[in-house]
């Protein structure tokens, strides 16, 4: 889980163009949306594509987003629960 969380932070920074941040700037349980990192609905869509392309997980209803993407840890937990056989 720790490695997944660390990898996710780097992937999120890259996918969302958060060039001003490093993985050390994002805490595991820090809220990502509204407050915290201040991400928005476009970022949620980007993360949906990230999960699909990197981890083979499809989120069909964007409304599930707020719960799944609450923090890096919740994303990691969701991936762990749902991922298909991916290298």
């Amino acid at each position: 889980m720790d490695k997944l969380i660390a990898d996710l932070k780097i992937q999120i920074i890259e996918a969302l163009n958060l060039k001003h941040l490093t993985k050390n700037d994002i805490e595991d349980d820090q809220p990502l949306f509204v407050k915290g990192l201040g991400l928005d609905s476009i970022d949620a869509l980007e993360l949906i594509v990230l999960l699909q392309q990197r981890y083979g997980i499809k989120i069909n209803d964007p409304k599930e987003g707020p719960k799944i993407f609450h923090s890096v840890r919740t994303i990691a937990e969701y991936i762990t629960e749902n991922k298909s056989d991916q290298p």
Binding site: A15, L16, N17, L18, K19, H20, G38, I42, L45, E46, V49, Q52, Q53
Partner: protein
């Protein structure tokens, strides 16, 4: 419809105090870009493509120059819009065969993104418009800005233009023989704050501008003379011509006419400094404003050694293929 240019901001391939001709440097010239974090928070920069940061930063520079925090209206011209993001989204769409595409390049590809981002950054709810009509894009924006000021003399209008160079667009555009070593493919952003009120910051009075399509060469001289005289100036009063002709074969005849008309007038072939792009008159207008205020000396630009006469009247003329535009400015300095 007199308006005054009270603030300017430019990002181009030139630094104001060290203008250098770019001819002979290759077929493309990139802008010298500042550290954008001087003007835009890093967190907001992430949603801005390069063309948007160029435009936004130029706008911020112009506003600071005019000591205006928030303009009343924002009018933008761009010839080709946000090319990089358009290309990125197209490629992803084609490579992914229309599946699983991220939205960011799409939303950043719309032409009005530049003007909208400026409005968002400033919390400006005023009039917001974007023109995209080839090399008339800035001219349309200027006309609109002047009309806004005529409708309400209290307005400060932020008006400007931007176009970017991308490798993809260059590969396509060079098929139309637009660029060569003398006139490389350029890019740049230029924004201005205009209002009805002259002040100590004023650079120049923007007297008039005119666009005309595909004129007969035999009519060109008449068009230009009429433009000058209907603005209550005499032809002989033009001190400087900021000229957008090039050494391309297609410009040869226009160049001859201009040489005949303005042979004795100091002429700056401005595309030798900024390159060719659809909103290059933005650079020309910035240059004219700097010259009008005495912040740049034409002798230095032209490497001339003769008598330095103060500049009162500046004419910009850009003949880009079938699109011809004229802009007339008058210095705000007290020149006897």
């Amino acid at each position: 419809m007199t308006t005054y240019i009270n603030g300017i901001g430019s990002i181009s391939s030139q630094t104001p105090l060290n203008m250098q001709k770019i001819s002979g440097t290759g077929q493309a010239i990139r802008a010298i870009e500042p550290d954008y974090t001087d003007w835009i928070e890093p967190g907001k920069l992430r949603r801005m493509s390069r063309i948007v940061t160029m435009g936004v930063a130029s706008a911020m520079i112009a506003l600071r120059d005019a000591a205006i925090e928030k303009p009343d209206a924002i009018v933008t011209g761009t010839g080709l819009g946000c090319l990089e993001d358009t290309g990125t989204f197209l490629r992803r769409m084609l490579v992914n065969i229309e599946g699983g595409i991220t939205p960011t390049p799409f939303i950043q590809s719309t032409h009005n993104t530049i003007g909208s981002q400026i409005a968002m950054l400033l919390g400006c709810h005023g009039y917001n418009q974007t023109y995209t009509h080839q090399s008339f894009s800035l001219e349309s924006a200027l006309l609109d800005a002047q009309m806004l000021v005529k409708e309400n003399e209290d307005l400060n209008v932020l008006v400007g233009s931007v176009d970017e160079f991308t490798v993809a667009s260059h590969n396509i555009m060079q098929k139309f023989n637009l660029f060569d070593d003398n006139t490389p493919h350029g890019e740049g952003a230029a924004y201005f704050v205009v209002s009805a009120t002259k002040c100590e910051k004023s650079y120049a009075k923007l007297i008039d501008q005119k666009t005309f399509m595909n004129p007969e060469l035999s009519q060109l001289e008449d068009f230009i003379r009429y433009f000058i005289t209907c603005n209550n100036k005499r032809f002989e009063e033009i001190d400087i011509l900021i000229y957008g002709g090039t050494r391309r074969p297609g410009d040869a005849q226009v160049n001859l006419i201009i040489n005949k008309l303005f042979g004795k007038v100091k002429t700056i072939w401005y595309k030798q400094f900024c390159g060719e792009y659809l909103t290059s008159t933005g650079f020309a207008l910035w240059l004219s404003a700097m010259i009008s205020k005495g912040q740049m000396d034409t002798n230095d630009i032209l490497e001339l050694d003769n008598y330095r006469k103060p500049v009162r009247n500046v004419l910009i003329y850009n003949p880009y293929l079938a699109h011809h535009s004229l802009i007339l400015l008058e210095s705000c300095r007290d020149i006897k």
